[in-house]
Symmetry: C2
Subunit: 396 residues, 2 copies
């Protein structure tokens, strides 16, 4: 009975802190999500200590970000993604290669041996689609061509990051790299995405009238929520992030005639659950480990490399859209968020990182997540909406 | 990464099992909630073992039932409850006294000493408002006078059960009963309910236009969700169940002009989260401990006493409404659900119950929860709606 009391208090504090943080951020013209992350840092263990991340809160956060990416998927059609396929692929690949190269160079010149350096560099790689998606959604910019490139690139990015992580973990453990098994993993992930994305959308397009039948006992919302949870689980089975599966589920559901109603019904779910993700993300910044000039200097360098290299990858990859759009894409790819945190945790457990390196990598991930939203918001407001070009077709 | 995968699989299985269970139950004319509990029993550890209750799932279940009682509160006004105050009080008191008396008599004649018998009897007492509320809501019967009596009585029941639990735990531990401190606990709980209920509704009635102002940055849904989590927490601090606070929050929110919109927005939250409560409830039935003629016989006797004594309390208490309504109230008070489970767990931990007694008490709690919904649904369909009388006023 007492335990229920503690957890309810945490839920209340997180929920209210998120609202206050978002409100303050909005008043000073920052995206609400920045305020939610900052609120998490304040109520978290390193300052007020009102909220301590634990397993139930992590699960709520996970459900929150899964639903967020589901709702982003609801606003995205496969055909729209296909139109920007080439740019997205280029952004995804360059956005992994450049940060990985610069990250490992920095780590090696800082005195880590090569196998550790590659592990550290892996934390520079994976873009967190959650943060960017939330900003794009807050600003109603999900229909812009840059948003589609970013979302498509985030999927590719996730596949490459997964492969890379497999490689560096194997190297660190002193194992050999089995190119054959890596190719199998790659093929499985791509196969999963292709089959679910392609078949799912096609089935939904031709069969979605079934959802509207009055004889159908389940509401469309129930069916798509089951799809969302199921694909989120399946994508973890293929080594991908749960949010990729949730995004796919949303994209499939966007083909139904019920799309608008579903978007509407998803709102209360997002209102209740996404704050847990952003507040918990913020609560993981350990300010104490960073309270030295040396640590802060390391953090500054790491963060700059992380931002510059990812921006470069996104910018170069999207250059065919023009410089302005390319710089929006570059900025949109910058946030690392929870993926960097996960890799840093792996490194800490494996003894690759010292507590300070861990704190720096986590803080870097979260700093990239905090600086991106205001810049992205400013860029999107400044540049007018650009219609999506069609890269698949010849002269239309 | 792997762990996220496991929990997502559990979420998916629970959600889908609930939908399938509810659908089958509806087809054979049972309330959906019976199907959800049965589905939990099937996917739970004692049969398929696909879902094992753990802390994150318990928290989701708790949030689910909190939101359920919040939504029930949204359909209930304080004035409506006041009108049935006298009947509700009588039902609440008799519904505690009679089951407690019969429960302790049975336990004592079965060979337990008096202090253990009183502990066991405490598990006979507390009505689980969640199950009944869900059936009433499924049937659209929350506006009926019987529903109001049941909901009012559930609040009183919870106060008394809390006091009783304090007494039996103290007795069992060999301590003395301090009447003074019990009175303080009682006064605090009643004071909490009265102040929140009375002041909250009044403030909301006079200030709810504030929610509609366009300058208000937070949506009404966000504000009432914060209220719901906050009062759920506070009510645990006053020794009451979290769902009592959530019910109060809903009742307060029902005074706003936004009530209908809020009801609408709560639906997707209920669709996602309440299945976790009912499936988890069902998953706790340990069929293996019950697989002997002796255990089954004990279960049958205990369940019969639990049902008959609670029905008698509710029926006698509500007799002023007429026999038909009184029998609806009597049946509506029968489910014990999670409260009996909690008391049984306390007893197991304290060494008062053997594993079999524990399994029997848990199974009894859940059996009462499973047999009630179909009977209640049948009664409500059979008897036409009865308008609520006004017990506070003289000749209206």
């Amino acid at each position: 009975m007492h335990h229920a009391s503690d957890i309810l208090l945490s839920l209340f504090i997180i929920f209210v802190a998120a609202q206050i943080g978002a409100e303050i951020a909005t008043r000073i013209k920052l995206p609400g999500v920045v305020g939610e992350i900052a609120a998490g840092c304040i109520v978290g263990p390193s300052l007020l200590g009102l909220v301590v991340p634990n397993e139930p809160l992590e699960v709520l956060a996970e459900i929150g970000v899964v639903l967020l990416l589901f709702s982003v998927g609801l606003e995205t059609r496969l055909d729209d993604l296909k139109k920007v396929g080439r740019s997205a692929l280029l952004v995804g690949v360059l956005g992994v290669v450049i940060p990985f190269a610069f990250g490992s160079l920095w780590a090696h010149t800082s005195g880590f041996d090569w196998s550790k350096s590659l592990f550290i560099a892996a934390a520079f790689v994976a873009t967190s689609a959650g943060i960017t998606a939330r900003v794009l959604q807050e600003l109603g910019a999900l229909q812009r061509v840059e948003s589609r490139v970013i979302l498509g690139a985030a999927v590719i990015d996730d596949i490459l990051a997964m492969l890379l992580l497999g490689v560096v973990v194997a190297l660190q453990a002193g194992g050999e790299i089995n190119v054959g098994s890596l190719l199998v993993v790659l093929a499985e992930a791509i196969g999963f995405l292709a089959i679910i994305g392609w078949v799912g959308t096609r089935v939904m397009r031709s069969k979605s009238h079934w959802l509207d039948r009055p004889a159908n006992p389940l509401s469309p919302l129930t069916i798509v929520l089951a799809l969302c949870l199921g694909l989120a689980f399946l994508s973890t089975k293929f080594g991908l992030a749960a949010i990729i599966g949730a995004f796919l589920a949303g994209m499939i559901a966007s083909e139904t005639s019920q799309r608008e109603k579903l978007e509407h019904q998803t709102q209360p779910l997002l209102a209740l659950l996404t704050p847990f993700f952003f507040v918990l993300t913020g609560s993981k910044i350990d300010l104490k480990e960073l309270a030295s000039a040396e640590a802060l200097w390391m953090l500054a360098v790491v963060t700059l490399i992380a931002i510059a290299s990812k921006f470069a990858g996104g910018f170069l990859g999207a250059l065919s859209l023009g410089k302005r759009s390319a710089s929006i894409v570059g900025v949109g790819m910058v946030p690392r968020g929870e993926v960097g945190v996960v890799i840093a945790s792996l490194g800490l457990t494996a003894g690759v990182f010292s507590p300070r390196t861990y704190a720096v990598i986590v803080a870097m991930s979260l700093l990239t997540a905090m600086v991106t939203p205001p810049i992205l918001a400013w860029q999107l407001r400044r540049h007018a909406v650009k219609p999506a070009p069609d890269e698949t077709a010849g002269p239309a």
